[in-house]
Structures are given as C-alpha cells and as structure tokens.
C-alpha cells in the first residue's frame, strides 16, 4: 500500500524547500554554520565552484566520508552533486541516503551525450537549465526540481538572470499560444509535447524552479526571487566571503522578505566583503560551466 519514490513524493521535498536558501559546504563545520544561519538544505561537495574554476582538474562527486560527516552534523536535508550522466555516482549517493542529487555542470561531465535517467531512482534530482527547452528535457528525464545554471563560481548574477528571464519569458509566451501551435513550439524547444501542454495550462513548470549560479549578496537573492525563482542556491558566495555566518543569515532573511526593501536594506548592513566576482566576458568560452550538458 505504501509507495516510495513516486514523482509526488520527490517533488514534495522540493516544495518543502521553497522560500529557502541551499548552501554549498565542504566540511561538517561549514554545514553547521549554514544550518545555524537558517539554510533549508546544504549541498555537500569537495571544492566550491570558484575553487574548481581556479584549480582546474577533473571535478568529481564528493568523498563519501565528507558527505557522511556532513549528514551527521546537521538535521536539514543534505544534497550532493554528481557528474552529468554519471549514474553510478548517483547510485552510490542514493545508497548512503543523500536526500537530493544535483546532476551538475559544475563537475566535469562523465557523458557528453546523455543525462541520467532520473526515473530509475527513488531519490529526487535537481538539474540546471539555461532555457525552457533544457528545463523540460530534464523534467522529461525525471528531474523533481529545476535551477538556473547561471555561471557557477563567478560571483556574477548576470547569467542566472539571463537564464531565469529566458525560462519565465518562454513560459509566458506559451500560455498565449493557441493549441494548434503547441506541437511546433515543442519541436522548436526540443521539449516533450506533454510538458509543453502542461506549461500552457498551468503557466508554470511542473516542478519547483530555483535560482543558482552567481548569487553573492542579499540583493542578488531578492532579484532572483522577484524574477520568479522559488528558492536560491548559494555556492561560493557564502564561504568565499569575508564573514560567512553573517552573510548566510542575511541571504536567508532576504529570501523570505524578498519583496520588502526595508528588510533588505536592514539585512544588507555590516556584512564585510562579498566574494570577488568575475566579468563573464573575460572568461574564455571553453571555461564556461553553463555550456556543459544540453
């Protein structure tokens, strides 16, 4: 009678994370700081994206001992990243009881042609997307949450804004299309027809839509929420800033009160230095993380 791993149960956890902040952490101590600041979940990884960018080399799933130490340190859900297409890493994370898996372009892709069949798992997946077609392809493979890709580790919000505007703009457009144009739109987007129909009927994605990639300040979090994000992921933005605990707490407050500029002004005070940012135009095309996956 009891059913586990249904889409309703997977999307259910994503719903519970709405209006919250998911923070990248690399140690149990950082996980505790994140939880104490009010994070709804932590993402366990070996190096934060800005270090992966700086140090290079192959970036893989985090060490299992680190993940287990983080799971032990906090009571909030623990997420972890796998390489695009690396379903064996995902099987291992499911076996150790990770609560959510991020099939992420931040790690070095394991498969340049195929993403993971996410319906084959009981654990829910989140995937990155730059536009509506990419979001619906991932949902078609079983993703229970979508996030913008942005440009991870850049501390620059411009790419996340571009991706969120693209997704939301395409959704608004589809709601205006007559039914006979939906198949052609599905073809243009490279997206499953049934999901395009869902978007027309409901005016939203069938799973929660979060923001990620370049969020570094409370104002960045508010901007993404006002553009239609339902929660925010913060990667390097917290633990690469001068005072992680205060910044983490401020971004949590800003995400809840994203529509209230007075609260935003208050929480933006006394934060010390944000992480240094990168100009996207100065990143070599081959070093962009967002172009990984399709």
């Amino acid at each position: 009678m009891e059913e586990k791993g249904t889409l309703r149960v997977k999307v259910g956890l994503a719903e519970m994370l709405k209006g919250g902040v998911i923070m990248d952490v690399t140690t149990a101590e950082q996980a505790k700081i994140a939880e104490d600041a009010g994070a709804v979940s932590v993402m366990a990884l070996e190096r934060v994206p800005s270090d992966i960018r700086a140090q290079g080399g192959v970036a893989r799933m985090a060490d299992i001992d680190i993940i287990l130490a983080i799971k032990k340190a906090v009571s909030i859900p623990v997420m972890a990243k796998v390489r695009i297409g690396h379903f064996a890493e995902a099987q291992i994370l499911e076996a150790v009881g990770v609560d959510f898996i991020d099939e992420s372009e931040v790690l070095t892709p394991a498969d340049e042609s195929f993403h993971i069949d996410k319906f084959a798992f009981n654990v829910p997946f989140v995937c990155g997307a730059r536009d509506l077609g990419e979001a619906l392809r991932r949902i078609g493979e079983g993703a229970a949450m979508i996030r913008t890709k942005g440009e991870a580790g850049s501390g620059n919000i411009v790419e996340a804004v571009r991706h969120m505007r693209s997704v939301m703009g395409s959704i608004r457009k589809i709601t205006q299309l007559p039914d006979e144009e939906l198949m052609a739109e599905a073809k243009n987007l490279g997206a499953p027809y049934e999901l395009v129909r869902y978007v027309k009927q409901n005016g939203k994605l069938p799973v929660p839509n979060f923001a990620a990639g370049g969020i570094a300040t409370p104002a960045d979090a508010s901007l993404m929420m006002q553009l239609g994000a339902e929660s925010v992921f913060v990667g390097s933005g917290i633990f690469k800033s001068e005072d992680p605990a205060s910044r983490a707490k401020a971004i949590v407050d800003a995400t809840t009160h994203y529509k209230d500029p007075k609260v935003l002004a208050e929480v933006s005070r006394g934060l010390k230095q944000a992480m240094p940012g990168l100009d996207i135009a100065k990143i070599d095309g081959k070093d962009l993380l967002q172009t990984r996956g399709w």
Partner: protein
Amino acid sequence: MERIGVLALQGDFERHIKALEKVGASALEIRKAGDLDETTGLIIPGGESTTVSKLLRRYGLDRAIKERFEAGSLAIYGTCMGVIIVSREVRDYPELVRFGFLDIEVERNSYGPQVESFEAPVRVDAGGGPVVFNAVFIRAPRIVSAGPEVRILARYEDYPVLVSQGLCLGGTFHPELTDDGGIHSLFIESFAKKAKRRPA
C-alpha cells in the same frame, strides 16, 4: 468568506494557499505579525523547522501567534513541520520553537532520509465516519506520544498522524500535495469558524 493565513516564512505555503482557495476560503501569506489581523485561522506549512524557528523569533511572530491562539481568536493547523512547531516536546531538538498547543511529543524526520518518504492511504475519522485520504509523508515527523486531551483523528501503522486539541489541528502528512481539499475544509468548518471574531 473565511480569511485564513498561511505562514510564508519558508516552505510549501503556496500549495496551501491554492488548496484553501479551491475550497472557497480567502488565503493570505503571513510574514510579519501585522499580517495576522483579520484572520481566524493560520496554517503552518511543511518546511524546515530549524529555518522557520529562527525566522519566527527574528520577527516576533512567535509571540503574536501565541497571543492570538491563547485568546481563542485564531485556530491553527500545522502540517509536517507545522505539527512540530505546535507540539509540546520535540525529541533531541530543544532549541526549536514549540508552542505546546498540542500535548504531544514528536520525533523529527522519524522515517529516515528522503528515499524513505512515501504516500499511503489513511482513514481519517473527524466524527462523521471514516474517510480515506491519500497521505503524503515527506521526511515526516512521528507523533510518539499524546496526552489525554488530544483527540486522534487518524493513525498510520501504530502512530497518530492527524490529531486535534481545542482550536489546534496537527498532521504529519501533506494534504496540500494532493487534489483532495477535505482536510482544509475540515480545518475551516470545525476549527477556524469556532475562533472568536475580534472586534473590527
């Protein structure tokens, strides 16, 4: 029309708002103490109890909710995280906000990691005979003990999953994740409508 607030600090408040509107109530998001005026009911949704405890205290909402409930002018329905917040005792987590509106002890995340989350039919009997609901449990808490004043409306396996005491209803599962508005209607008819109207 009954005006029901949904605590919107964090969690799946939007799904509760849709469920309330579907059964004909007017629903509004509650982020600050002043938002509670003119509501006769408050839903505390699913979410993360550590996060919401901190935000309740930071903005003084915990005191405002407690005052209104104790004055008998606000009915409360806590789901999942919400039932933790309205309980008397939370095993191992004394730092969380606990209103004590329900004389129950709960254990957080009692079924294990997300892969153990599940949906299952449960029989709810609120007085009019049993009705079956598809109950969705997401990293759910368990009600491990209940005092004599607590009415048990549904059980799953050996544990209560929907309980009430006075103007407070609490459940460990998520009716807002299904299309069945029965429990939201129950909250409006048998709880929110019994809260005292405050003078305008």
